[in-house]
């Protein structure tokens, strides 16, 4: 092999190795050097285990490994707006003599096609301590919440994404006082 070609190839190899080293160092400093407590944080805190969720059968995500938050960057919302959502709930919810007070939080995933599924619920008292609420009331609110089939999916860099979403009902003596967020 000609000498100049040898020099060129070795120089190229050196530059490639230098570049890879630079990229690797950057990656390590930005991401790799931060450890993970696998025992405590095996997933992101918002993770919903599909095996424990309701209405997950047949519910497909575009990317199981990349589920965004509903608020970031575009809001994943009910397609007809929050006022319509609130009006629908308030019109159809019936207080069948419930006396319970607290928060019912229903978390779920909106997929990149705007379909909702993978629901999980958290029941708390008004001081946000876990507390079992009237199960008939909880089931009624769950059924109403799952009526909203069509939602706007999240958009990141002009691409539709799956995202986590939740609805929180503040209930006092069986009456819905507020729907958040």
């Amino acid at each position: 092999m000609k000498k100049w070609l040898k020099i060129f190839l070795f120089s190229l190899l050196g530059l490639v190795l230098l570049f890879l080293g630079f990229v690797g160092y950057g990656y390590y400093n930005y991401w790799g050097k931060f450890p993970v407590d696998e025992q405590k944080y095996s997933h992101n805190v918002e993770y919903i285990n599909p095996d424990e969720a309701r209405l997950n059968d047949g519910f497909k995500l575009c990317n199981e490994r990349r589920i965004a938050q509903y608020y970031n960057p575009e809001k994943a919302t009910y397609s007809k707006g929050k006022n319509r959502l609130r009006a629908f709930i308030m019109k159809n919810y019936v207080n069948k003599g419930y006396q319970d007070s607290g928060y019912l939080n229903i978390r779920f995933v909106i997929n990149c096609h705007g379909k909702a599924g993978r629901y999980i619920m958290h029941e708390n008292d008004l001081d946000l301590n876990p507390k079992k609420l009237d199960q008939d009331m909880v089931e009624q609110l769950f059924q109403l919440t799952t009526q909203f089939k069509e939602r706007n999916p999240n958009i990141i860099r002009e691409e539709f994404y799956d995202s986590y979403m939740y609805l929180s009902y503040r209930i006092e003596n069986g009456e819905i006082i507020e729907i958040l967020p």
Partner: protein, 107 residues
């Protein structure tokens, strides 16, 4: 065998030097806070609520258990994701250590 005996003392010294571990100096409160802040702020680019971010915040709190800013940041990921029952007890701890800053946020 003779050689082994000859090197026995040297071997013993090597093992002894490896076994000796200089005890890390005790940090005072301001040094602990400075170290905790460094750990906390170094990973501020990590996605909120991710295993790496949560582990990094816990690590900072472990260094300085009174570091309210980090405790509060640990709680926020739960609140924003609709889990106020997990947010509340952690936020209460932040308020306990720095009520002036975090009481108005928590209410």
């Amino acid at each position: 065998m003779v050689k082994l005996l000859k090197y026995c003392l040297s071997l013993y010294l090597v093992v002894l030097s490896l076994a000796c571990h200089e005890k890390e100096p005790e940090l005072d409160a301001s040094q602990r806070r400075a170290l905790a802040e460094e750990v906390f702020k170094n990973g501020s680019h990590l996605p909120q609520g991710s295993p790496k971010s949560m582990t990094r915040i816990e690590e900072a709190i472990k260094i300085d258990t009174t570091y309210a800013e980090a405790i509060r940041e640990l709680s926020v990921a739960y609140l924003k994701r609709g889990m106020p029952h997990k947010w509340r007890p952690i936020m209460d701890r932040a308020v306990y250590y720095d009520a002036k800053t975090w009481q108005p946020w928590r209410g």
